[in-house]
């Protein structure tokens, strides 16, 4: 029986593919992925890698994917930070703090995301004054309807040494953290953590400065004609999308965090308190590890939602993968089947990758044995 069903399904698929191919041929539509190496011929207003109109559609895919990853990655970071703070604030014993968090959550999760994106873009950012009347912060940072322009460090030769110093500092952070915990467990006493880290930071960057001097120049934006020159320009489409995605998803994450903390039995806090554990230690070692177990699966869904929702970029023409591939490229090349397929595969792989990472983390948190 199962063999028959399988055979029928396979047969239907073979027929479908054959049918599509013959139809495409009859209508003289190209098939295959040859277009990826053809010249794209259109510009993109935010590119993380070098890109010109003369580059191929293949490079367009990479540029779009990087833009999607940038806005999703930063969105996940800010949504998590804000969401956890709001979730904890919602549980605060302080009436005002808890109510402010509640109002925020109810507003942001009950207005459609598309509207929020349009609000930030058309309602706020496009309504900023023109570059000539730009709002400025200390004549270094400017906000106008062309985007936000920030001063930026221009790195010269030798900047690499500073990168090495930064890596060294990160390694030092983890090493010190391990050393502190180990010292706590073998001698019983807490050792200093921040002061040695500060000394290490000074030493590393001091060494970098000795090796390479100061190879940075501060690039402050300046008004030239009708727009700004220099500095780092963040396009308004990006800011609007990032704001909307982070603020919207944070409201959902806040509710997840609240539910997670509430799910930990009150007896757990009481047992920790009765043993004399200070509240902060109890929160870190007893409550949070158990709350995370409940928080992580729905949190994963929110991460996936945010990534997929970033495709609403198309509404304000932020050049994400959907906008540049399933939008501009599709209208120029016309191979809907291949292009939609590639776009879907990209989202599918991103989502599967995220789920896989989060599931692995969740497995590490799981309880052993029966727990009621």
């Amino acid at each position: 029986m199962q063999v028959l069903v399988l055979a029928a399904v396979l047969g239907a698929m073979v027929w479908l593919v054959g049918n599509v191919q013959s139809n495409l041929e009859r209508q003289n539509i190209n098939s295959g992925f040859g277009f990826l190496s053809e010249r794209a011929g259109f510009g993109i207003n935010q590119t993380l890698i070098a890109y010109t109109e003369d580059d191929s559609f293949g490079r367009v895919v990479v540029v779009g994917l990087l833009n999607t990853l940038l806005v999703s990655g930063l969105g996940i970071f800010f949504a998590t930070l804000l969401g956890f703070s709001l979730g904890v604030a919602r549980l605060s014993r302080n009436w005002l703090i808890s109510k402010i968090a509640m109002v925020y959550i109810e507003i942001f999760r009950n207005v459609p995301l598309l509207l929020q994106i349009m609000f930030w873009y058309f309602g706020v950012l496009r309504n900023l004054p023109s570059p000539r009347q730009a709002l400025s912060v200390g004549d270094a940072m400017f906000m106008s309807n062309r985007g936000i322009v920030l001063p930026w460090l221009e790195a010269g030769a030798g900047a690499m040494w500073y990168g090495v110093a930064l890596l060294g500092l990160a390694a030092g952070f983890f090493w010190l953290r391990r050393r502190t915990l180990k010292a706590k467990l073998t001698t019983g006493h807490s050792t200093r953590f921040w002061r040695p880290l500060l000394v290490l930071a000074l030493a590393l960057f001091g060494a970098a400065a000795l090796m390479a001097g100061v190879p940075f120049a501060l690039d402050v934006p300046q008004l030239k004609g009708f727009n700004f020159r220099g500095g780092l320009t963040v396009i308004p489409e990006f800011v609007a999308l990032l704001l909307a995605l982070s603020l919207y998803t944070a409201a959902f994450i806040a509710e997840i965090v609240r539910a997670g903390i509430n799910s930990v039995n009150k007896g757990q806090r009481e047992a920790a308190a009765a043993l004399g554990l200070p509240e902060r230690v109890a929160l870190r070692l007893v409550v949070l590890p158990q709350a995370l177990r409940v928080i992580i699966p729905p949190l994963t869904s929110q991460y996936l939602n945010l990534t997929k929702n970033s495709s609403l970029a198309v509404a304000i023409a932020y050049p994400d993968i959907v906008s540049v591939l399933a939008g501009t490229t599709l209208s120029q090349v016309g191979q809907a089947l291949e292009i939609i397929f590639v776009t879907m595969m990209i989202y599918l792989s991103l989502s599967l990758l995220t789920s896989w990472a989060m599931n692995r983390y969740n497995q590490r948190m799981a309880f052993v044995g029966n727990n009621t």
Partner: protein
Amino acid sequence: MTDPVIRISDMNKWFGTFHVLRDINLQVAAGEKIVICGPSGSGKSTLIRCLNRLEQHQEGIIEVEGVSLDGSSKNLESIRSNVGMVFQQFNLFPHMSVLENCTLAPIWVKQKTKQEAEALARQFLERVRIPDQADKYPGQLSGGQQQRVAIARALCMNPDIMLFDEPTSALDPEMIKEVLDVMVELAEDGMTMLCVTHEMGFARQVADRVIFMDEGEIVEENEPEAFFSNPQNERTKMFLSQVLSH
């Protein structure tokens, strides 16, 4: 009689408008074993939960080993690390192994090294007769074993006083004895104990005093022999006839 280790005088407590504890006066000497009984809702659990401030009283004085429970967090810290508590629902930490459950507080409160804390934990696990379960997780143990781990966990802080809040009420009948046996041994070693329980056999065997509570008041207190054979108060008589009749 030496100085009492617990001194409660004219203590009152409300939950909202509900008067849970009324004019409680109680003194407990070092090494004394007190069993508190009474119908449900009579305030007996609330009373012992006030002793380590899991509940806050509103009126009167509670002193534990001469330190007053007055809301100062320094006093509270010192009292909590000297008073162990065992709960009806065990409240073991499910994400930690048995050994980690027992070493958590000694490491983070008493600043012991991991090695010292583990040696101590194994010694107490031996004493509650489950030394071979040290590396298991609470979810892998029976209720009786979990409750004995909870007792060992409390003992690892070397408390002077132990509070038991209906320690056998959540257990299957065949596991009650293994927990009571550990408690009897503890009593024989001279631990000061306050125990809320319905196990009247345990009360007869180890208690120095039995306290009967009803509607937030201490109605009657006496030595177990006299308490069971010759109760004075009508409410005590009624309660005992219900508990002992089957």
